[in-house]
C-alpha cells in the first residue's frame, strides 16, 4: 500500500493547496485512514498530506468568549483538558469513550468529524454545544454550524483543498452527559449514542443529540423544548422526554442493530442521561 506520495505539511496554506490535487487526502492520527487504505478502499489514492506537524492544529485555546479546539487534538488531550472538563463535560465524556487508550492517543477530533460517520462519538457532543466547524482552504476560512456540516454518511461539506482547522465553542459553562451502547466496551462503534448538555442563565436550557439513529446525527429539539417548559424534571417528565426522543429517532436496521431496538434505546439512553444529570446537580 505504498504507491503514493507523502507530504509533511509545514503550514496550512501549502497543506490546502496540496489537497486540491485529485487523489490527495489529509491524514491526522491515521486511526481510521490506515485501515481503510489497507483494505483497498482508496484505489485512486495519489498522496497523503500529513497534518500532524501543524502545531496550531494541536492546541486548545481561548479567544475572548470562545474556545477553539484544534482539529489535531487527540481524544486523550481532550479528556485531560481542565477547561474542557469544567465547561464542556459532555465533550470530555464523549472523547473518553472512543476506542481504548491506544486509540485515544492517536484519534483526533478533526478526524472523527471529517469521517462524517453517523456513529462518530464526538459529533453529538459538538451538536449539543452548538459548535462551529472552522473550515480552511487556500482562500481563507469559513465557519459552518456543526448541524449543517454533514450531508450523508461519510459525506460532509468539506471541499477538495479544505481542511477542518478546528471547532469554536462559546465559552459557556454547561453540565452534560454522554452515553453509548456498543458491542464491546473498548472498541465499540456505537450502535447508538446520545449527548445531553444543560445550562442555566436564569432559566434551564437543554440540548439533546443522538447518533446512529439516522443518516446523520440528529438533534432532538422537541424533547429539548418539552424539558425547557417543564416546571421540574420529575420522573414523569423524564419518561415523556424519553418517549419523544424515541419517536424522533428514525434509524435503520443494519449489521449492528435493528430499527426497533435503536428506537427504544434512544429513549432509554435519554432517561438515563437525564437521571444522571439530576443526581449530579
Amino acid at each position: 500500500m505504498s504507491n503514493f506520495e507523502f507530504i509533511r505539511a509545514t503550514d496550512i496554506h501549502s497543506a490546502c493547496s496540496a489537497l486540491k490535487n485529485p487523489g490527495y487526502m489529509a491524514v491526522a492520527g491515521g486511526s481510521d485512514l490506515i485501515v481503510k487504505i489497507r483494505n483497498g478502499m482508496y484505489p485512486d489514492l495519489k498522496g497523503l498530506v500529513d497534518l500532524s506537524g501543524l502545531e496550531q492544529l494541536n492546541q486548545i485555546r481561548t479567544d475572548e468568549n470562545k474556545v477553539i479546539i484544534g482539529s489535531g487534538c487527540t481524544m486523550n488531550q481532550i479528556v485531560n483538558d481542565r477547561l474542557l472538563q469544567d465547561y464542556f463535560p459532555v465533550l470530555t465524556k464523549a472523547a473518553a469513550t472512543v476506542g481504548a487508550l491506544q486509540i485515544r492517543n492517536s484519534a483526533t477530533i478533526g478526524g472523527n468529524v471529517a469521517n462524517a460517520s453517523p456513529a462518530g462519538d464526538t459529533i453529538p457532543a459538538l451538536y449539543v454545544l452548538e459548535a462551529r466547524v472552522v473550515v480552511t482552504g487556500v482562500n481563507g476560512s469559513r465557519k459552518i454550524p456543526i448541524e449543517e456540516f454533514f450531508i450523508s454518511p461519510g459525506k460532509s461539506k468539506l471541499e477538495p483543498g479544505e481542511i477542518i482547522e478546528g471547532f469554536r465553542l462559546l465559552l459557556n459553562k454547561t453540565r452534560g452527559e454522554f452515553l453509548k451502547l456498543g458491542e464491546r466496551r473498548a472498541h465499540a462503534i456505537s450502535k447508538i449514542n446520545l449527548a445531553v448538555s444543560t445550562w442555566n442563565d436564569g432559566r434551564d436550557h437543554y440540548r439533546i443529540a443522538m447518533g446512529s439513529v439516522a443518516p446523520t446525527v440528529l438533534r432532538c429539539k422537541e424533547a429539548e423544548e418539552y424539558l425547557e417548559n417543564c416546571e421540574k424534571i420529575s420522573p414523569e417528565a423524564i419518561a415523556r422526554a424519553a418517549e419523544i426522543a424515541s419517536n424522533t429517532a428514525r434509524p435503520i436496521s443494519d449489521l449492528r442493530s435493528t430499527k426497533a431496538y435503536r428506537k427504544q434505546m434512544a429513549g432509554v439512553l435519554l432517561s438515563r442521561a437525564l437521571n444522571k444529570l439530576i443526581q449530579s446537580a
Binding site: V35, D50, A100, Q102
Partner: protein, 160 residues
C-alpha cells in the same frame, strides 16, 4: 510508480536513529523490518488487539495504525526492547511469569507496555482501573484473570 523513499529521524529506545520508508509503511513494520525489533507483534493490523502497542512520547499507541513517515525528529519511541534495563518493567515481567500470565506470549509485549503506563500513572490501581487500562489489549490464551493478578502483584511489590 513513485516509490519515493521518505527520510525520517526519531529517537528509538534512547538513541537518535534514521531510516528511509515508503509512504504506506507503519511504525510496526518499521520496527520489525528496518530495525529488527520484533517484540511488537501484528495481531490484527487494525487497532483492535494491542499486540503492536509501543510507547510514543510516553503514551501507548497501536504501532499498526501510525505511519512511519509521520515520525518527527523529537518523537521518542520505546518498544519493549528499550525497557530491558528498566526496574518497573522488569518487575512487571517477573510478576507476569510468576502469576502464570504468559501462555503463547503473543500479547505480552503489548500487555506489559500498557501495564507499565498504568503503573507509572496510578501506582495503586484497583481491579476496575486495571481492566480499564488493559481494555485495548486482547489475549486469546489466558482469560485475563492471571494478567490482572500479575499487574496487581507488580504494583504491590513496588511498595515493599
Amino acid at each position: 510508480m513513485q516509490n519515493n523513499l521518505i527520510k525520517i529521524s526519531f529517537k528509538l529506545n534512547g538513541k537518535q536513529v534514521e531510516s528511509e520508508v515508503l509512504a504506506g509503511m507503519t511504525v510496526l513494520e518499521l520496527l520489525r523490518r528496518n530495525f529488527r525489533l520484533t517484540a511488537a507483534k501484528e495481531g490484527c493490523g487494525k487497532g483492535e488487539c494491542g499486540a503492536c502497542t509501543i510507547m510514543l512520547n510516553d503514551q501507548p499507541i497501536n504501532s499498526c495504525l501510525k505511519l512511519a513517515a509521520t515520525l518527527k525528529n523529537d518523537d521518542e519511541i520505546i518498544s519493549v526492547e528499550g525497557f530491558n534495563e528498566d526496574k518497573l518493567m522488569n518487575n512487571i515481567q517477573q510478576a507476569f511469569v510468576e502469576e502464570g500470565a504468559v501462555q503463547c506470549g503473543f500479547c505480552i509485549p503489548g500487555m506489559t507496555i500498557t501495564s507499565y503506563h498504568l503503573l507509572q500513572n496510578n501506582p495503586n490501581p484497583d481491579e476496575h482501573a486495571i481492566k480499564q487500562a488493559l481494555s485495548g489489549n486482547i489475549c486469546r490464551c489466558t482469560g485475563y484473570r492471571k494478567i490482572e493478578a500479575a499487574v496487581k502483584k507488580a504494583a504491590d511489590r513496588r511498595h515493599e
